[in-house]
Amino acid sequence: MRRAILAAIPVLPLAVILQTTIASRIILLSGNADLVLLVVVAWGLQERVRGAWLWGVGASLLVGMVSGVPWYIYTLGYLSVVGLARLLVHRIWQAPLLVMFGVTLIGTLELLMLMFIQRTLFEGPLALSEVFSQIVLPTILLNLLLAIPVHALMHDLANWLYPEKVTG
């Protein structure tokens, strides 16, 4: 657990910084990739890692602090994504990339829908069709494009922190 926390201390702030400075500026229609979500998903999908829930909490607090979206939206979104990742990692362990794509797709959709509902309830109605075509679909596409490199990086990090035990 200590290793997961120590790894989270540089990785999560770095992911948030990269998100606000670069990823949020690369816009497709009105959507942009969610690097922090991808990092949390990819970490949660590593079999041997611990502290995936802590990563979810840390990421949601950090992003909630930076973003204008209320912190509880990110907390709900990221923690449910971590839960889904931990649920699936032991069931579909033979196809990690497929699971990464699946969880990314569901997680992105869920997080954006949470934002949409919050925005509609508290700030006024938004056209769902416009939200879908201008934000949801482009964001999903960008997240799926970034899913493979982020998964590879987190896989290497997890292997480095939690090396496989060789039984002789």
Binding site: V16, I17, Q19, T20, T21, A23, S24, R25, I27, L29, S30, G31, N32, D34, V36, V63, V66, S67, G68, V69, L112, M115, F116, R119, E123, G124, L126, E130, V131, Q134, I135, T139
Partner: protein, 281 residues
């Protein structure tokens, strides 16, 4: 043994033979022989010279290639360094131009106090049109303060920490700014959208508005100072069945390329919420 020919006679004979040979040579009788000899000599010299130069090349050229490679690497490093310098200088020129324009704007509008800031990030949520700037409450920036560039209105400060602040751009879907059309002096409300497009709402049906009309802040509501430039009307939608006209605005500010902004620090937004009555039971 005594020599059969005297020494002086030998000398005379040799001299005569030599003179005879010289006379024959001058007469051209030895040309074939000299030509043959010369040809052999030149051929041998050419061959030896060629081999010698080949050996010299073999011994010296590799050293030259190495030194040339070193020079080439040095020059490439110089070129790379100079290119970096050029890019840095171009960046500095761009920044200087922007800052100079901001200074001009501040001079032209001396009634306000400004705090310049760099845009250092954007909100992670694609639903929000918020940016993060590198000045905060330590520099006197407070929530609600209007933010401008030399091109016009940018938005207002939404949240502040010591070293940074978050701005809500006027293009945000939840943003609403009271504006007026300069030509007709008509009041309207500027609203943003999730796509970042700006539009005017609540324009009275009888108002005469045209494409190209300049949009300025009206100052109503107390959230923004009056007469800040917003943009121009690019299209008008007028339907008799609707209560109000609508118009699409081309903002003066390029919100995708925001680098530097000015926070107006001596403008205190007025909170009119207490004045708006809540509906009774």
């Amino acid at each position: 043994m005594k020599p059969s020919i005297p020494h002086s006679l030998q000398t005379v004979v040799i001299l005569l033979v030599a003179v005879g040979l010289v006379a024959l040579a001058l007469g051209g009788y030895f040309n074939p022989v000299t030509n043959w000899f010369t040809r052999i000599t030149v051929g041998a010299q050419t061959w030896i010279s060629g081999r010698y130069l080949a050996v010299v090349d073999f011994l010296t050229v590799p050293r030259d290639v190495a030194s040339l490679r070193q020079k080439n690497a040095d020059l490439e490093a110089d070129v790379a360094r100079l290119q970096t310098q050029v890019i840095e200088l171009q960046q500095q020129v761009t920044e200087t131009n922007i800052l100079s324009a901001l200074v001009d704007f501040a001079r032209a509008n001396p009634e306000y106090t400004y705090r310049a800031a760099s845009v250092i990030g954007r909100d992670p949520s694609p639903f929000l049109r918020y940016v993060i700037i590198n000045v905060g409450s330590n520099e006197g920036v407070l929530p609600g303060m209007p933010v401008v560039t030399d091109k016009g209105l940018v938005g207002r400060v939404d949240a502040v920490i010591g070293e940074a602040a978050r701005l809500q751009l006027v293009t945000d879907a939840a943003s609403a700014v009271n504006v007026r059309l300069q030509a007709s002096n008509t009041e309207a409300i500027l609203v943003g959208s999730i796509t970042g497009d700006l539009s005017l709402d609540m324009i009275p049906q009888d108002a005469s508005i045209q494409v190209g009309d300049v949009v300025l802040t009206s100052g109503l509501g107390g959230n923004y100072p009056a007469n800040l430039l917003v943009g121009q009307i690019v299209s008008v939608r007028k339907l008799q069945s609707e209560l109000f006209q609508q118009a699409i605005i081309q903002p003066n500010v390029d919100f995708n390329r925001l680098q530097f902004v000015l926070v107006i620090t001596n403008f205190k937004p007025v909170d009119i919420a207490p004045l708006i009555g809540t509906p009774g039971p």
